[in-house]
């Protein structure tokens, strides 16, 4: 059984196919049709709902997610808010009122999703800031308005004239959710099972019992098997309720990240050490995806175009793998073995990610290139960590996504940089060396030629960035 708050009402589900998405549950089981299906792949945001949960510091945390790619079991212990829940007695929420007054809806089909993203933004930010608004709404597509009135609404909803009626007392919600979270969650229906272990040890034991189970570690990719391939998964094991998989520890040597930590939750600590990651993290999926997707999931699915793996490769990260009670540490360098294949054995999973602390002398850059700036999959993603002695490169770790069947380091390129001054001549040699490292494919995102050229040009950008501010190098600094 799982239990969650549907707005303020306690809602229990027992007998349901755990392959059911939150969107289908809302629309087909509850007849709550305000939440729309636009793509069923997490790419348009029409299905955006908000979940509230109690954070580690006992605060209610409001997060926008894509209902279309969220398995129903993930709701356990959380509060689910949909577009139907915002207006009370005909009194619109400021996000809704501002959308009306600013002419933020035309056909109206994307509107509930926008309203929920705006609502989450409203709960998380005291003031309107354009950059933060763009970040919150980058995963919601509108085909009618051109977005300007929606941006206006995102500012106007902070107008004091639209002061919100207080939500239901947060204290009660916090207490209720905390109590719900104590109860273990599981689901069965249509001969499918769903487990939500509460610790890594419990997960390890379950996974050994069910070695064919699929891990739900955000499910932003896994769910596509349900909604696009129409597959059914017999056993699902959710990683996100294991408290020792969702924490981050800072040690003197490294950042020690639980595999089920979401991008959103890891961002503050990552950015603290590597502020240069800001743009990449902002462009990684959408807000909804970052709220749901986990770093462990991004590594585990071994996609050649995942954005975190190149970064973690450049940062010399390693992963702690666990099988039953056995643990082993594997450098990320050797974790990926082929297209969507890893060294993970049966019943083995990623428990933690270790990222060594930054050296003061490290020149670090991470660049993502895609057809569209917001919410797009990388054509090429490059991450560069150069240890510098003045202008001289003492060592280099360079990794790319989108250039091979796995995210991979560019060893020839690294060799061409090592012990050289970071000059145009050195970079030219490093660019030439890339041809030894990679032989990318052509697909609908880009041709092989473009990928090679851009991979090289990112090295040029890296060199230029040593002396030029980012505003003179990256169009993303204009928005």
């Amino acid at each position: 059984m799982i239990t969650f708050l549907l707005n303020s009402i306690e809602h229990r589900i027992d007998d349901i196919d755990p392959n059911t998405t939150v969107l289908d549950y809302l629309r087909d089981h509850l007849g709550r049709t305000g939440t729309k299906e636009g793509c069923a792949s997490g790419d348009c945001g029409a299905c955006t709902v908000v979940v509230a949960r109690v954070s580690a510091d006992n605060q209610l945390q409001y997060r926008s997610i894509n209902a279309c790619i969220t398995p129903i079991g993930s709701l356990h212990g959380q509060q689910l808010l949909t577009v139907e829940d915002l207006a009370a007695d005909g009194d619109l929420h400021p996000a809704q009122e501002a959308m009306v007054e600013c002419h933020g809806s035309q056909c109206g089909f994307c509107t509930p999703g926008f309203v929920m993203s705006l609502y989450a933004h409203y709960q998380n930010h005291a003031q309107p800031d354009r950059q933060e608004i763009l970040e919150s709404l980058g995963g919601n597509l509108c085909r009618c308005t051109g977005y300007r009135p929606i941006l206006d609404a995102a500012v106007a909803m902070y107008d004091p004239a639209l002061e919100a009626t207080p939500d239901q007392p947060p204290h009660n919600v916090r207490g209720t959710l905390a109590a719900m979270a104590q109860v273990p969650a599981d689901l069965k229906g249509d001969n499918h099972r769903y487990f939500a272990p509460q610790s890594s040890a419990e997960l390890a034991a379950l996974y050994l019992q069910h070695p064919d189970a699929r891990l739900v570690a955000g499910a932003t990719d896994l769910s596509l098997e349900l909604t696009q391939s129409l597959a059914t998964i017999t056993t699902l094991i959710h990683t996100g309720r294991a408290t020792d998989l969702t924490d981050i520890q800072e040690t003197s040597n490294h950042l020690d990240i639980g595999a089920a930590v979401t991008y959103s939750d890891s961002a503050p600590l990552l950015l603290h050490q590597w502020p240069e990651l800001h743009e990449l993290l902002e462009r990684l999926g959408s807000k909804q995806i970052r709220n749901q997707g986990t770093i462990g999931g991004n590594i585990g699915n071994a996609s050649p175009i995942g954005d975190m793996p190149p970064v973690l490769l450049a940062l010399n990260a390693s992963v702690i793998l666990r099988c039953g009670k056995q643990r082993r540490s594997v450098p990320l360098d050797t974790f990926f073995v082929g297209y969507r294949r890893t060294v993970l054995g049966k019943g083995e999973f990623i428990e933690r990610i270790h990222v060594p602390r930054r050296h003061a002398s490290t020149l670090f850059r991470a660049y993502k290139i895609s057809k569209r700036i917001d919410d797009d999959i990388s054509t090429v993603c490059g991450a560069f960590a150069l240890d510098m002695d003045g202008d001289r490169v003492t060592s280099a770790r360079i990794a790319y996504g989108g250039m091979a069947e796995i995210p991979r380091r560019a060893h020839y390129c690294e060799d061409a940089l090592r012990d050289k001054p970071l000059t145009e001549a050195t970079i030219n040699a490093a660019v030439a060396a890339l041809a030894e490292d990679f032989c990318p494919i052509s697909d609908f995102r880009a041709s092989a030629d473009y990928r090679m050229q851009v991979a090289g040009n990112l090295l040029r950008r890296l060199q230029l960035s040593h002396n030029l501010p980012a505003q003179q190098l990256q169009v993303t600094h204009y928005a």
């Binding site: 636009g38 793509c39 007054e101 035309q106 597509l141 051109g146 290139i369 169009v475």
Partner: protein, 781 residues
């Protein structure tokens, strides 16, 4: 309900035409209460239909084993072409679009059969279990190859005037070239959907998401072999359409109706996004070849232009679409001598169809590319080349290549105004200075104009009907043939009726567009929605007003000229009575309070054999200035600022008009930048969903977006309140973004070489063009 302070405006509250009233469904949109087809609850025994799609581009079906489909859990019925009681072809204008494949496959993603099951998921799963064997036939997927073979869906049309040979011989310079523009997926957020409900008289009620309910009605009737009177199509609203729910909505209505007809149960059909991409048509990709003759001052003397529309596998609406491309190949420019051929090229892909602009954007873009090339060749600012060639009242430079005289010379002053308000010249200087000192990022600027012809070029479509009821409490129900797809048509037409009867908007209820209320309607397309339906609704309102006036004059003993409708009241000489009381009084005196209205557009005609006439009632104009920054290392770019001036005549609703302008502009930008359709060699669309097909997202909207409605410019034609259509024209303002990107690239060669930049200008194409410029500069040194 809380309000923003600026909305407390009594004029707005009155909601008469001209006021920026909110969309009639705005509150429904933001609360999730506004209902779309798939939100509609069917009876408990509702069934779900889902199509099985082909997986080759072209060939014959050697065998189709559907036994596994039939046996799949939840399956109730499996339907193939042989099960269709009536017509099997649903081609809207010309035949060529089978409802279900009939022995042969015409494109990858064609509907072969239909599964009907007790859930959407069961139907979708079952549809994948078919065992189909094909005998493939060589397919045509390349438009240039197909053009070379004259593989056409319809014959070529030609428009020409003047002595092109002489013009070419006399001109200072000539240029030849080729240009490609890509297609565009409509990507309405609400996918194709229909729900059919069998009626007890053997008829069918279809809730559809369609821009053309009457065509849906006709085709459902033909497929089911029923008289049209037994079929009703109901459309309350669409979650976006953009042309993609004109002919392309019919198939899903017909399939749902067929399944409902066979089972006697309600049937819903909703396409999953990837299948919607695969099975429905898009904007036509175009290929063009040109030879342009011009003088050193940029004056165009003659144009030879071949426009080849890639129509896909059937004619659908392609004849009219390629015609419209030809009608817009001049854009705002006088062509003293011209020879324009429009080819309707067949390729073995999904049949391309209507998309906002309907060929106009493709023709116009081909011309704007030519203007850019002329600018580089003459060393002039492209804006000066544009202005040099504008239609004008002087020297007889006022007739299009198809013989329509330009009567309102708006583009010159409009562009002059925008040039000043957007500070074009100063920014041009500033950008040159920036580019000189910026090694990687380059900025670009462009001002492009738009002239768009308003009217269906198929004459009979230029008609509309309306139905208006006044009830005895003074409340009013309004119905018309136009459909609501987000553009605010219901709001505008209600404002027109409110203005005519001088009543508050809150009195008026717009009901869903239904073929049983207003028959034989035209599609809501060609930007004509408010022009046509607004006039028809006003006609109905005037009929009722006239009856009430006559009645009130008699009742109060005054002359009819003394009866005045004003702010919810009706004044008759010294007497005054509320509109509601008058309605009640009139009812008691047996005055009819219901009326139909009708309108047909005057003046228009086009002789296709002579390629001459006046196809358009009037033209709508606009222009945009876009400024971009381009990364010459990666090809990425950003739109920094856009300034737009659009001629909407006397605006019916400035808020809705600005919404159309901004939305159209960004959509046009998407067409020319990030939206790229890629078909594989097997004919399969590889960018079949928003994960791979990228429409503009929120940060693509520039930080500065200034939109002005051209002031004091009422339509000189007698349109509804002298307004102008606004649906499609702004899409072409997006051409300025493409031109600005091209300008930034050209700066790499000091604008001495002309970047070849096919559309869409993806980062990859931009980087390629940058490399060409860099090579040019290397050759110079």
């Amino acid at each position: 309900m809380r309000r923003l302070p600026q909305a407390r405006n009594s004029r707005a509250a009155a909601g008469l035409a001209g006021h920026p009233l909110r969309h009639e469904s705005a509150v429904g949109h933001v609360t999730g209460q506004a209902s779309y087809v798939d939100d509609r609850r069917g009876p408990a025994d509702t069934l779900y239909a889902y199509p099985g799609l082909s997986s080759i581009a072209r060939g014959n079906i050697s065998s189709m084993d559907l036994s596994a489909v039939q046996c799949a859990p939840g399956v109730v019925d499996v339907i193939t072409s042989n099960d269709i009681p009536g017509h099997r072809d649903i081609g809207a204008v010309f035949p060529g679009d089978p409802l279900l494949a009939d022995g042969e496959v015409l494109f990858y993603g064609q509907v072969l059969f239909v599964v009907v099951a007790n859930s959407q998921l069961a139907a979708r799963r079952a549809a994948r279990l078919a065992q189909v064997e094909y005998a493939p036939i060589d397919s045509h997927l390349d438009v240039e190859e197909a053009l070379a073979e004259a593989y056409f869906v319809r014959p070529t049309h030609r428009q020409s005037r003047g002595d092109l040979d002489r013009a070419q011989a006399a001109a200072d310079k000539q240029l030849t070239g080729e240009f490609h523009s890509g297609g565009q997926e409509q990507m309405y957020l609400e996918g194709q959907a229909a729900m059919a409900v069998p009626q007890d008289d053997g008829g069918m009620l279809v809730y559809a998401s369609t821009q053309h309910p009457s065509e849906g009605q006709k085709l459902v009737a033909e497929v089911l072999n029923l008289p049209m009177s037994k079929v009703t199509v109901d459309v309350r609203r669409m979650g976006g359409a953009f042309g993609g729910k004109e002919t392309n909505a019919n198939q899903w209505s017909c399939i749902a109706a067929l399944a409902a007809h066979r089972s006697g149960r309600s049937v819903k059909l909703r396409l999953a996004r990837a299948d919607d991409f695969a099975a429905t048509g898009k904007r036509h990709p175009f290929f063009s070849r040109y030879q342009v003759a011009f003088d050193n001052d940029g004056t165009i003397k003659g144009l030879d232009l071949e426009l080849a529309g890639n129509c896909g596998m059937s004619p659908d609406l392609s004849d009219a679409i390629v015609d419209r491309a030809m009608f817009h190949a001049d854009n705002c420019y006088f062509l003293p001598a011209a020879d324009i051929r429009g080819h309707r090229v067949r390729t073995d892909t999904v049949s391309h169809t209507a998309f906002r602009g309907f060929g106009g954007p493709q023709g116009m873009l081909a011309m704007e590319n030519i203007i850019e090339q002329v600018a580089t060749a003459t060393g002039l600012d492209p804006l000066d080349v544009r202005k040099r060639n504008f239609y004008s009242a002087e020297d007889g430079r006022d007739t299009t290549h198809y013989g329509q005289k330009i009567e309102q010379h708006i583009i010159g002053p409009l562009v002059e105004r925008l040039e000043n308000t957007a500070n074009y010249r100063a920014r041009r200087q500033e950008i040159s200075a920036f580019n000189a000192q910026s090694p990687v990022l380059k900025r670009g600027l462009a001002l492009t104009p738009v002239k768009f012809g308003i009217s269906f070029t198929v004459q009979h479509l230029n008609q509309a009907g309306a139905l208006l009821h006044v009830y005895t409490d003074g409340s009013i129900q309004l119905n018309h043939g136009g459909t609501e797809m987000g553009q605010g048509l219901y709001t505008k037409v209600a404002q027109i009726v409110a203005s005519e009867l001088q009543v508050d908007m809150s009195r008026i209820t717009c009901t869903s567009t239904r073929t049983d209320k207003v028959p034989n309607t035209s599609p809501t397309a060609a930007s004509s929605g408010s022009d046509l339906n607004g006039m028809a609704a006003r006609d109905a309102a005037r009929k009722i007003k006239s009856r009430l006036t006559t009645f009130a004059a008699g009742h109060f003993g005054v002359s009819e000229s003394e009866v005045v409708f004003e702010q919810g009241e009706v004044k008759a000489g010294q007497e005054s009575i509320s509109f509601a009381d008058l309605a009640q009084l009139a009812y008691l005196q047996r005055i009819s309070l219901s009326a139909t209205g009708f309108y047909k557009t005057p003046k228009i005609h086009y002789n296709r054999d002579m390629a001459n006439g006046r196809p358009f009632f009037y033209y709508a104009y606009g222009a945009a200035v876009s400024e971009v920054v381009v990364d010459t290392l990666t090809g990425e770019y950003r739109l920094l600022q856009a300034d737009i001036c659009q001629d909407v005549g006397q605006s019916l609703n400035p808020a809705l008009d600005i919404g159309q302008i901004e939305g159209g502009f960004i959509q046009g930008m998407g067409w020319l930048t990030s939206e790229e359709l890629i078909w594989g060699e097997d004919g399969r669309l590889q960018t079949a969903g928003p994960a791979s097909y990228k429409i503009p997202a929120i940060s693509d909207t520039p930080a500065t977006l200034n939109v002005e409605l051209l002031p004091d410019s009422p339509n000189t034609e007698a349109t509804i309140f002298h307004s102008k259509a606004v649906g499609e024209p702004p899409l072409m303002l997006g051409i300025s973004v493409w031109a600005a990107i091209r300008d930034a690239i050209g700066s790499l060669a000091d604008h001495r070489a002309s970047p070849a930049l096919n559309a869409p200008a993806t980062p990859e194409r931009v980087l390629l063009a940058c490399a060409d410029m860099q090579k040019f500069m290397e050759r110079q040194t």
